[in-house]
Symmetry: C2
Subunit: 159 residues, 2 copies
DNA sequence: GTAATTGCAAAGGATTTGCAACAGT
DNA sequence: ACTGTTGCAAATCCTTTGCAATTAC
């Protein structure tokens, strides 16, 4: 449970109070390896018998993101998702299945290095990366599903 | 003005009418190499003396995205941006300056290839990529600006 | 002529904000 | 005690949708 320690340290460093709500929300976020939506966090809190307002969840998540312990994602669903970075490389890709919504993580030091290199080549100082690949996951392929909207696309050779 | 031709062709192929509004909106989108927000598109239309409703803009953009001629982006500003892909590789990275908001594009076939490779390695069928690097652009660095929120981050070595 | 689009205004959904009551230091 | 947080509801912002009038084919 070292993450509680880290978050507390962050709050202390910022001169902010360590409240029960903040710790509870952090426990939920650090207790899942997936990508949580605010709605999912709310549900988990309800299940634990905690009654914490939505506004507090948003405010705590903002803090967790600022601390660098949690990453914010937008997979194009119309809302955000949150993922703790505890014990994993902050630089990793996401493979997002457009059919079933599954999100798989892959780490590639090679890819990370290449990205950094490309950015610095044009004088850019990189701080944060976002690598997402949308497509069809192995499971959906096995079930014979195809990329629905892909049929409408004008292929590049048209141009 | 070949893009008008392409968009028309797409509409015909779909059995949809080619309206004046659709062509005008397409002209605006294809007339800029940057990343336009809906608000910016509206402003440009107003400047041209065109009076087109916001709903029509959204509906036309949806169509342009489906056609594959335009890409939709979310740079975390709370709204979407649109970029035409006419004459450029659909696979390119974005370097986004968190201080001045500038967006620079870079193309890296090497990076694209590596990404494809990584995805396929785990049985994933890639269709669409998203590569964004957030940080400080060369211009802001020259002016001595720093990454404001970066100071709050817990470095990885804490974990 | 028929079917689809347009434009307006209203609805929708996620996130933020104001403010009085409350908790952490 | 003092400062900052919490929770509720209202507000906000972007985007979508319903529907009568209009336009493309």
């Amino acid at each position: 449970m070292s993450f509680v320690h880290l978050f507390r340290r962050f709050l202390r460093d910022q001169g902010l109070p360590v409240t029960q709500q903040r710790e509870t929300i952090a426990e939920v976020v650090f207790g899942t390896d997936g990508h949580l939506s605010v709605e999912e966090i709310e549900a988990e809190l309800r299940q634990r018998g905690e009654r914490i307002g939505k506004a507090t969840i948003y405010r705590t998540l903002e803090m967790l993101v600022k601390s660098g312990l949690v990453a914010e994602h937008d997979f194009g669903e119309g809302f955000k998702r949150y993922e703790h970075l505890f014990g994993q490389s902050p630089i990793h890709e996401h493979l997002i299945c457009t059919e079933c919504g599954a999100v798989e993580k892959i780490e590639s030091p090679e890819l990370a290095r290449l990205q950094e290199e490309q950015a610095r080549r044009v004088g850019f100082l990189p701080a944060r990366y976002r690598l997402e690949i949308y497509g069809l996951c192995a499971g959906c392929q096995a079930e014979g599903r195809t990329l629905e909207w892909e049929g409408l696309r004008c292929p590049v050779e048209m141009m």
